[in-house]
Symmetry: C2
Subunit: 123 residues, 2 copies
């Protein structure tokens, strides 16, 4: 008899490992802790922003990566997208409740890094 639940993903925890490759935690962690994911979650942590604002605030990001990262974060339910039917178009992005939760956890990390970065890189 088959006991598989049909999932193709590895379990969340294996003894002696951090997380198995391809497990759900690794997938979501990659989204959240990705180079641009962190910065966008951070940029949205002080409220709603438009596409063009996010592009400026997230210095150095390409349009492609902004679109891609926003879609990923929206797909994970971290970011809400509000498109207004006006001309010229206006789209606002903001954090969901779930997004606020991770952003709150991200914040201490980024603050610690910002405080110590110069010291870390000197030499």
């Amino acid at each position: 008899m088959k006991v598989s639940d049909g999932s193709t993903r590895p379990p969340a925890l294996l003894v002696g490992q951090t997380y198995p490759a391809g497990c759900s935690a690794r997938i979501v962690l990659d989204h959240v802790s990705s180079k641009w994911g962190v910065l966008i979650l951070l940029a949205l942590s002080d409220g709603s922003h438009r596409w063009s604002e996010l592009r400026r605030r997230t210095d150095g990001i390409s349009e492609k990566m902004l679109a891609q990262t926003l879609k990923t974060l929206e797909g994970d339910g971290f970011v809400r997208r509000d498109a207004h039917a006006v001309i010229p178009p206006r789209v606002d992005y903001s954090l969901t409740g779930r997004g606020e939760e991770v952003a709150a956890l991200l914040k201490p990390l980024t603050e610690w890094v910002a405080e110590h970065a110069d010291e870390i890189l000197e030499r």
Copy 2:
């Protein structure tokens, strides 16, 4: 008269932005929050481990990326490398004080993600 301090890196903060591209905070943040950086800091947060252990614990990592990530984290002063002059060679990796600090900040994030990942990805 020139007032530059000789640094080629942007300042740590600019109004209306998260962090400027290429600034020290962004550089260190990329190291810490990188796909493998997070997992290795996490793997070391419960104590010292050997190369081969880290390779197994960090499921899916290649030798190349393990070496590269360890060097980066060592260069940033997050990881300490202890090579014992024995045959066969034995090298232990552990967190420095600074490494413990970031790992402590990383932990709540990874735990939150591990707890919610399945729910986030379902559908």
